[in-house]
């Protein structure tokens, strides 16, 4: 067991935990919380600038005061009087470093106390992040935050997770199916609720005619945005597109694909994205498995091409399970956006779109299969975290309404 924040002897984590449970909640958007998050943001921006940790830039941007005040406006628009729920325990995902911050800070903003469990595998970025948080937490002005928050790291251990769960009012699980199944078995207090963010799949819908008609500059911009959506987390973030659905007439489809893929490949090369050879072998193995199961019907480019492409067969949806990230795109075509509904499942989270207006998207949204697609965002916004995630408004879920008649 390691206590990552605030500074304390790891052996005393249980005392820290008990102290936290004894604290009353804070009012929503208390100034001390806003100042704390803003201070972390400022310090982080300083670090990021000096160390070129571009992914943390997005996080720091999300945490700046202007955005926090926007969230406060959003929170206040809700009906009735809302107060914090109490203690929220967050089981953060192992590999997308920043997710834990969003989960934690949204809960903090509405006034909850927090227990955060982080993986024992932590990268460079995470260590900067934790050092920054600790530096700010050490300031006397933030004693109230220090007393109410505890970031822990331990190898998965049911006995510890049981203790954490026993004290919480909300449990938040981020992770793969196995993680969730294992943690869900642990008992919660009768009044506690649970939020689960499971492994998801995401896709892009591109309007072929719109792409064909783009001027050079906006076209290049589109390619860059698509690149950011997919390659930032090696195409393993749940919201990164792994399937590209081309929408339009046959001639446009062909022309759009001919224009788009070589441009993406050139940009990937320009950005010097390259993976160890074993990632290529993994990608190839995934394609063989998809082929064996009849999930793909042909390869538009040779199997060794990077990024890799595979064309979906008809009616078999299992291809989602084989994807291993690292630059592999399934492809399919439809003559109109609503026809995409036939391929969607409850696994699907984000639809990144290009070349569609709100009416087009609404038309599809009305006929979505049960539970499929929680987000439709323009290409370039796949990884932008919102307080509404997987259909859940976290500001709402982390608080409760006191009804006054």
């Amino acid at each position: 067991m390691e206590v990552l924040a605030p500074h304390m002897d790891s052996a005393n984590w249980k005392d820290g935990y008990k102290g936290l449970l004894a604290q009353p909640v804070l009012p929503p958007f208390d100034p001390v919380v806003l100042d704390f998050i803003d201070a972390v943001s400022k310090r982080l921006l300083l670090e990021v600038a000096t160390r070129s940790l571009s992914e943390l830039m997005v996080v720091a941007h999300w945490m700046r005061m202007a955005h926090l005040l926007e969230l406060r406006r959003e929170f206040r628009r809700q009906e009735g009087l809302r107060v914090a729920r109490g203690v929220v325990v967050h089981f953060a995902p192992a590999n997308v470093d920043s997710i834990f911050l969003y989960s934690w800070f949204l809960s903090l903003l509405v006034g909850d106390s927090n227990l955060v469990r982080l993986s024992t595998r932590r990268g460079l970025q995470m260590n900067y992040l934790l050092a920054t948080i600790n530096h700010v937490l050490d300031q006397p002005a933030f004693a109230a935050i220090r007393a109410r928050n505890l970031i822990l790291s331990y190898e998965h251990d049911d006995s510890v997770s049981t203790i954490l769960s026993a004290g919480c009012d909300v449990r938040v699980l981020w992770g793969g199916d196995q993680t969730i199944a294992a943690l869900r078995r642990l008992e919660l207090p009768p009044l506690a609720t649970e939020l689960v963010f499971a492994d998801r799949f995401s896709l892009a819908a591109l309007n072929a005619a719109a792409i064909v008609g783009l001027q050079h500059k906006p076209f290049h911009e589109l390619v860059c945005q698509f690149f950011n959506d997919t390659f930032w987390f090696d195409q393993l973030a749940c919201s990164s597109p792994r399937l590209v659905a081309w929408i339009g007439e046959r001639n446009d489809l062909i022309a759009a694909q001919k224009r788009f893929w070589p441009a993406l490949k050139a940009y990937v090369t320009e950005r010097r994205v390259s993976y160890p050879a074993v990632v290529g072998i993994n990608r190839m193995t995934a394609l063989y498995a998809c082929a064996a199961r009849g999930e793909i019907d042909h390869l538009p480019v040779p199997v060794t091409e990077f990024p890799a492409r595979a064309h979906l067969g008809h009616g078999i949806l299992g291809f989602r399970e084989h994807h291993c990230g690292g630059g592999l795109f399934f492809e399919t075509e439809r003559s109109a956006l609503p026809l995409l509904a036939d391929i969607l499942t409850s696994k699907d989270q984000t639809l990144c779109y290009f070349g569609f207006n709100r009416d087009d998207l609404t038309q599809l949204a009305r006929i979505l299969p049960t539970r499929s697609i929680d987000r439709m965002v323009p290409v370039g916004r796949a990884l932008a975290f919102s307080h509404v995630w997987d259909g859940v408004d976290l500001l709402h879920a982390f608080s409760r309404r006191v009804d006054i008649n």
């Binding site: 089981f91 590999n95 997308v96 992770g175 993680t179 074993v278 990632v279 190839m284 064996a292």
Partner: protein
Amino acid sequence: MQSLTKQAVAPYGEQRVVKGVRLLAELNELTAWHNQHCKEYRRILDVMYGGRRKAMSLEEVPFLPVRLFKTIELVSVPRESVVRTLTSSGTTAQQPSKVFLDKETAHQQSRVLTAIMKDYLGPQRLPMAIIDHAGVLNNRYTFSARGAGVLGYSQFGRDHVYLLNESMQINWEAIEGFLARHSAETVLLFGFTYMVWKYLYEGSITAGRQLDFSNSILIHGGGWKKLADQQVSNEEFKSGLHDQFGIHRVHNYYGMVEQTGSVFMECEAGFFHASGFSDVLVRQPESLEVTSIAEIGVLQLLSNVPRSYPGHSLLSEDLGMLIGEDDCVCGRRGKYFLVHGRLPQAELRGCSDTHQEGR
């Protein structure tokens, strides 16, 4: 089948050109067989090879990435004729490989292994000591790679003795009895590389007892990964065993559970050899182009044995280097090569399973 009988006499005698033509025909026949009897394999040829069935050269023979046997079940005979399922956990994936054997393929594996081993051991069965414990053969139906290895190689020996007990301690009594019974004979020692080093070599050093195995041939295999982690090279392995036990004839074998039987034996000169039942191609890890001699790449392994499952052409995740063909100083014909361990593994990021790491 007739050609196999011929090779059984001399698995290392054929010249390059003759072998190339024969093996290509055999592999094409196997491709056609699996195409007809395994629908997953047929779909793979359709999608990944544009429907191509017949190869004009060994390089063109369609291959499967070996890890595919961990993700899907591939079988080319009716399920009811499967008599044994081999499994191997590999090193990274949680799921084991599954290899389905019918009577014919299992029998062929053993014939092929016999032909290869006779070239190294001579025609007689030798008294045999196995560096493992007898419990490794438990569970007759799903063999571990270790169990299958022990069982497969046991046929080359007689008066078998297991040198370890269930707690992986050396059974001194058994060894001394065995050596006393066969003091005047050449004996066969067999074990997995890691077991030989960890339990026999290190075990005897810890116990401070030396043994005289100077009149023995050690056959070992199963991979260097665990020993490479301890920084033990093949040279150190050999010299350690020589110093401690007086062993000077050591042959490592290289192969995979997906191609049991047609193993690549290390010759007296220290190179792995393809036999008449097998061949090896080295491919550049990214482009998968076949590389030239002395260039490192991933090994593609060809075997004319697998018929009950489509394993006759596999792309491994092992790195190696071709040294030459037909002209090894040991006198054996065929390609000879070196193995340099596994392709370095890498971990991508993403919303991966937070729970798996600890379990």
